[in-house]
Amino acid sequence: MGVITDKLPGVLEPVPGGQVLLTAVDQLINWSRSNSLWPLTFGTSCCAIEMMMATGAARHDMARFGAEVARPSPRQADLLVIAGTIVKRMAPRLRTLYEQMAEPRYVMATGSCAICGGPFMYDSYTTIRGADEVIPVDVYVPGCPPRPEAFFYGLLTLQKMIREGESIRHPGERRRPVLAALPEGMTLDDIRKEMQDLLSHDANVKMVDELAEGAHFSAELKDF
């Protein structure tokens, strides 16, 4: 990318219409970057198991989003998923791995431990209270550990950030870190209502709470 991103603005900008073209190139580059994330094989505790299930296993298959190949070498990776507790001895290694990764590099912090230390925040002699004390984080995915759906929500949020993010004229300029959690103010009842709305089109689906009221039961029993 070096040649394109370094030389292209100087070549295109004097040309009439070149700035418009540059914006289009920006969009193309960001689109391709967002859809070819290569995560680093890096996991420190139980969140890593969840990450392996999300990335490697067939059921959730991260390849659908273009983040397919987990790379064993940081030189070939541009997405660092911090999955698990970061302890004092791991922190310098994490920093080294981050610095070895190819630019532009992105960081997802998944799970309570990577966000703030989680259950080891207090009275721990060794746990770093949040991976962002060591490296900058782009997306935080809450959970202990996060479900694969939450993990993918974080990944999609990151892809959205990349698409709207850097430009050739302003490399290194990022959007502010985000918390990829449920939208504010949303409660369990809202989710339940949405599920009900989605399912109510299906004649075979009956809601448990309606059944519990006995209306369906008694009606069906009478028919029987």
């Binding site: 004092k88 002699y125 060794t126």
Partner: protein
């Protein structure tokens, strides 16, 4: 060998051993002095044959001012298990090493030295295992404190 027979057989070897009641594994409280001799006989006795030291841990009983060391033994040949419990003084936690009986004890004892500060006499290589070499203190002791730790608010 079932638990009562096992305890009787070990008590025949070590008369000072007392039984701890209400445990899942048969557990004997033994003095620190004869530990190596007892472990050697437990390993070599054909009827007992404890050839495996499964785990070795330490517990900090700070109110009673002592460390309790647990040696979890198992016999693959006979399929029975036994726990030995040794108490040492908290101020001077010295205990003989089991390295010459069970080679795995070298690393297990290094771990409990690292985190609890138990001192093993005649250990060939008593260094820290997990923490940095220049770490001060033993963090799994109940009275451990350092600047990094964050107090849990009430």
């Amino acid at each position: 060998m079932d638990a009562p027979n096992l305890i009787a057989a070990v008590q025949a070897l070590q008369p000072d051993a007392t039984v701890r009641e209400k445990t899942d594994r048969p557990t004997l409280i033994v003095p620190a002095e004869g530990l190596v001799a007892l472990a050697t006989r437990l390993r070599d006795d054909p009827a007992l044959k404890f050839e495996l030291l499964e785990a070795h841990t330490a517990i900090d009983w700070i109110e009673e001012d002592r460390f309790e060391l647990l040696y979890l033994l198992a016999s693959i040949a006979h399929g029975h298990v036994l726990t030995l419990s040794v108490s040492v003084d908290r101020e001077n936690p010295e205990v003989p090493t089991l390295c010459n009986v069970y080679p795995i004890a070298e690393w297990l004892e290094r771990e409990s030295y690292d985190l609890m500060g138990i001192l093993y006499d005649d250990h060939p290589d008593l260094r820290r295992l997990f923490l940095e070499d220049d770490w001060v203190g033993f963090p799994l002791r109940k009275d451990y404190e350092d600047d990094f730790m964050l107090e849990r608010p009430e």
